[in-house]
Amino acid sequence: MRAEEVLFLFPEESRDRWREAAKLAKRLQEIRLRAGMPLSILVDNREYFLDMQGRIVDRPEEADRPSPEELEHMLGHLCRYSIYAFADEIRQGFLTVRGGHRVGLAGQVILDGEGRIKNMKYIRYLNIRIAHQIRGAADALMPFLFEEGRVVSTLLISPPGGGKTTMLRDLIRQVSDGTAYGPGVNVSVVDERSEIAGSYLGVSQNDVGIRTDVLDGCPKVEGMMRLIRSMAPRVLAVDEVGSLADAQAMQMAGGCGCKLLATIHGGSLEEVRQKNYMRYVMEQRLFERYVMMDRRQGTCRIVEIYDREGKPCTRR
């Protein structure tokens, strides 16, 4: 992660203000811009503010406050002055920009006649989540992920912010490239929210491996079947399984002989089992490994790895 990458997130005329913060690119986690509110950044899980000269300060009273016009201009820049091209993303409340960084958006939503979100206006809150690919994040998991040189279907479980996506990304990369535990295989990724590959203009911004195909921005259910038909993957990866339709699509993919790498929100294996849409999937033993993760003192870690029976795994 280079300082320039952070600077390029901002329009040319406001880059001077961000130079100091950009120097912390490797440790920078979030940048928050709220109209009329102090500019804040999150570095190593600690919040700081930026003053008018771009100096990093501790007190919000000293911080600069962006105007609504600045945020509109910022949004235009992030959308490459083509907001219409990002209408779907804006509707969902986030954009993925060059470098795979996610920009969360909030403002006033516009509803259609049936009460669904049609678009968003007066976008006055931006939360830029800086993407950091952690190569080797899945190293500790790899010995458990193969049986006789073949990948096993694995479900990563953690509460939000527990590092599931980071782990999944590295799993995909290693499975695709091949490791000491097994040769590289074709992996297909349904990247519904552009979080895994961080695709920008169709190009993956994160290293997801040499044998990986990415279907970006596609709903999981449609995407999984489409990829199975079109790309013949050995492994299919999806992030954040969250509905009965997702679970059914995974079952169907499993039935086609694909191995699955997936993530789900949850505090424990039992909690996941209690989700009505996951009960059947788990009873059918679609997954052969369950990996419990959480975040302690700012670090994501693997808490436990379970086998298909739900028993803790021993190192192979």
């Binding site: 040319e12 235009g76 820049h77 490459r80 002055y81 083509s82 219409y84 091209a85 804006i90």
Partner: protein
């Protein structure tokens, strides 16, 4: 002998002047056609391709072999290579510069050069609609001019030759 040569020179000069005027008008019609086609392509890429404006500029550069291709190439280069320069500003600058020598009217140039200022729509249908307005304006001008051009061209040729004759008779 000298009078005959002088007569021919004056006649040729006036005919050339008439031809040049008619040519300018034809050139204007050609530019209007090209611009209206380019706007049609932009509209299509917004509606169906959902490309961003810098990407559309790159496509226009690659697909077309017109006097505008280089201009679109420069716009793409200036706005896409992480420069962060304001797209409407670059579009306006480059297009004014490109269209400066062309025999287009001021309002026709302005329609194209200031188009990017209105690229703030949040939906592709709205954005494409805005481009379609500019396209319709140029298309209308093109039709008017194309019809008038033929007649005007003949008239300019006749007038210039007659002027030449008159001048030659007066002078010689």
């Amino acid at each position: 002998m000298y009078k005959a040569v002088g007569f021919l020179c004056i006649l040729a000069g006036c005919a050339g002047w008439g031809h040049s005027l008619a040519g300018q008008e034809k050139e204007r019609v050609r530019h209007l056609k090209v611009l209206s086609c380019l706007l049609g392509q932009i509209r299509g890429e917004i509606s169906y391709g959902k490309h961003t404006m810098p990407e559309i500029c790159l496509l226009l550069k690659e697909w077309n072999d017109t006097c505008y291709s280089e201009c679109f190439g420069r716009i793409y280069k200036r706005t896409s290579e992480e420069s962060g320069t304001d797209f409407p500003k670059v579009w306006e600058e480059e297009l004014w510069k490109c269209m400066e020598p062309f025999p287009l009217r001021e309002d026709e140039k302005r329609t194209v050069a200031e188009l990017a200022k209105s690229l703030r729509f949040r939906e592709e249908s709205g954005q494409a609609g805005r481009v379609a307005q500019a396209e319709a304006f140029l298309e209308g001008r093109y039709r008017q001019s194309a019809e008038a051009c033929e007649n005007k061209s003949k008239m300019l040729h006749s007038v210039s030759i007659l002027t030449g004759l008159l001048l030659a008779i007066l002078l010689l």
